[in-house]
């Protein structure tokens, strides 16, 4: 929790990390990603979190689902292409069982993408989320980031439904 003497966070990753802490999201599973590196590094440096990499995004969803059902809130972090491996497990596990699995996806495949494969995969992401009724918000602005992150996370737990925050290159700066 932020103490009165702490200055409010000023980077997107510090804002997101604080939103997780404010909502008692302690378990962070991820498949590594360059854009998410400052977020993941900050989480590893903070003893509040239990954080580790997974071999595949599907298992990360399974781990967070199990932890959530046993009383520990968690989030899965990944890149756009990793998200595209998830429709079956999202549909049959956190959506079917109504378990609030949070996701953060760093958006690749848009605004200057050089890899055609990434560009096509990126177009599948929002339709997949929409088709399952998974609330998603794309974070593009620093001044909105804290509100968007906190409220999305809060709603996921209040409504017992997965939710996804998409980190736009507009916010992250992304790859050169």
């Amino acid at each position: 929790m932020t103490s009165a003497t702490d200055a409010p966070p000023t980077t997107w990753h510090a804002i997101l990390r604080q939103a997780l802490k404010d909502n008692d999201v302690r378990l962070v599973t991820y498949v590594p990603d360059n854009v998410l590196r400052p977020l993941i590094d900050g989480i590893h440096a903070d003893p509040f979190f239990t954080a580790f990499p997974c071999a595949r995004e599907e298992e990360a969803v399974g781990i967070v689902t199990g932890a959530s059902m046993a009383g520990m809130r968690g989030i899965v972090m990944m890149q756009t292409s990793g998200f595209a491996t998830l429709p079956n497990v999202l549909a049959s596990l956190p959506v079917a069982f109504q378990v609030p699995v949070l996701m953060v996806v760093s958006e690749r495949g848009t605004m200057g993408e050089f890899n055609p494969g990434q560009a096509i995969v990126c177009r599948t992401m929002r339709p997949i989320l929409d088709s399952m009724g998974i609330e998603h918000h794309t974070m593009t602005r620093l001044d909105e980031a804290a509100f968007m992150a906190d409220r999305t996370i809060r709603q996921a737990f209040a409504t017992r439904w997965p939710a996804c925050l998409i980190i736009s290159p507009l916010l992250s700066g992304a790859r050169k």
Partner: protein
């Protein structure tokens, strides 16, 4: 404790599931993998709240169990997973080995077939893949085949009294599941979460 598959007695999943559940006295969690692993768990005692029945997400019994184990380090947690299911998600063995959850045990029911889709053989059966050897090579040192019922009992006893993670491999026959679960995911989640809220 048996290191290789040369001399394994073929056992029965329904009977061993009952045997396992009968040894659980401390509200241990049991995560049933998709299909017959689930159905025999259901048949072993559908009123047991600490059982979780996975209805899809093939291959995720061990990751779900691992998540429960992280959230509740004082509760022992078992995953019941088929060989074909585990084959879909072998990477999770390294993920689990890296984190070393002391309270997690994975039981592999190995019949060499995808029983529920028409009993087609698995690639691992054709290739002679040793699932326990994969677990050990993934970094899970306490991984062994149960050669017979007595060894199964001994390995479950070890899982209940010593630090894991543990893996127990069992060659099973081709008898289909004894019963089928209800298909009621929200009730399953509510029941399981309520049971997990009870102290160990």
């Amino acid at each position: 404790m048996t290191d290789n598959t040369d001399n394994l007695h073929v056992m029965n999943r329904a009977a061993l599931t009952k045997r396992l559940v009968g040894k659980l006295t401390k509200r241990e969690a049991v995560i049933g993998g998709i299909g017959n692993s689930n159905w025999d768990l259901w048949a072993s005692g559908k009123d047991r709240g600490e059982n979780f029945y996975m209805l899809g997400s093939m291959g995720l019994a061990a990751p779900i169990a691992f998540g429960v184990a992280i959230a509740q380090p004082n509760r022992r947690v078992f995953a019941l997973e088929g060989d074909g299911s585990l084959l879909m998600q072998l990477g999770c063995l390294s993920t689990i080995a890296a984190q070393k959850p002391k309270n997690l045990t994975i039981i592999i029911w190995d019949n060499g077939i995808y029983q529920i889709t028409g009993s087609q053989g698995t690639p691992s059966a054709s290739a002679g893949t040793d699932m326990v050897a994969i677990a050990r090579a993934s970094g899970l040192a306490s991984a062994a085949w149960a050669a017979d019922e007595a060894e199964f009992d001994a390995l479950v006893g070890k899982a209940l009294t010593t630090d894991g993670p543990h893996v127990i491999g069992v060659k099973i026959d081709r008898e289909p599941g004894r019963d089928q679960t209800d298909r009621d995911p929200i009730r399953f989640r509510e029941t399981f979460s309520r049971a997990m809220a009870q102290a160990v």
